[in-house]
């Protein structure tokens, strides 16, 4: 794929990887700090979406389509993980209804 704009594509790939990494760092801040359990689940879900994007960018960068298979498998596993975490959170809270969640806005 060497043609017009090949250098622009390489620059775009580098910048996009940088943006995705910055996004992952910001999501990690919310994952560590976030006051409630639901905030952490939301941050984890977004970070997994960013990892899928990063795998796609790596597939362009390396020219290897194997990364797309990894991205598909990762998206599936992240979806199942988010759903199971959310359901676990709901049931766990229902089982100990005497205690209140301390959740600052």
């Amino acid at each position: 794929m060497t043609g017009v704009g090949s250098g622009f594509l390489e620059t775009a790939v580098t910048i996009t990887m940088g943006l995705l990494l910055v996004g992952g760092l910001l999501g990690s801040i919310r994952l560590i700090r976030g006051p409630g359990h639901a905030d952490r689940i939301v941050a984890l879900d977004m970070i997994s979406t960013l990892v899928v994007s990063l795998l796609a960018v790596t597939a362009i960068d390396e020219g290897a389509a194997v990364y797309l298979d990894v991205a598909i498998a990762y998206a599936l596993i992240a979806y199942l993980g988010t759903i199971s975490l959310a359901r676990y959170l709901q049931r766990f809270h229902k089982n100990q209804s005497g205690q209140e969640e301390v959740d600052e806005p």
């Binding site: 639901a38 979406t49 998206a75 709901q90």
Partner: protein, 129 residues
């Protein structure tokens, strides 16, 4: 030409993903954070996967990229719905300036203050799990 289009799509997707992460950090409320991550994050990933589909000369690889994007578009609302329901169930506080809570109104709690602790009262729980 294809390289330039791919680059533009990549930059748009990366910017949207970074905006989603910024929203995750800056927005004041769990539900607003879900708004940022679900919509902007999924759109960013979809644009990047579309860039892969345009860039590759192989039809199978392009099909796989489009299928991944379709999978993300299908699963993001479902997981957001389940996470939001769990967050409401456990009584996550809303933002102080929230003025609309349709589920509490449907449950007959008309006098709830804005940003109340939430949670679904007894007898108004339509889901069994």
């Amino acid at each position: 030409m294809i390289a330039i289009l791919t680059g533009i799509l990549l930059l748009c997707g990366g910017t949207l993903a970074a905006a989603a992460a910024l929203g995750i950090v800056r927005l004041p409320d769990t539900f607003m954070r879900m708004h940022a991550s679900t919509k902007a994050g999924t759109l960013g990933a979809g644009l990047i996967l579309l860039a892969v589909a345009i860039h590759t000369p192989d039809t199978g690889v392009a099909l796989r990229a489009l299928l991944t994007s379709l999978f993300l578009l299908l699963t993001a609302p479902v997981s957001a719905h389940i996470v939001g329901r769990a967050a409401y169930h456990i009584g996550t506080r809303m933002w102080q300036k929230t003025w609309k809570d349709d589920l509490a109104e449907a449950c007959g709690l008309d006098d709830v203050p804005p940003g109340h602790p939430g949670g679904i009262p007894e007898g108004c729980d339509s889901s069994d799990n």
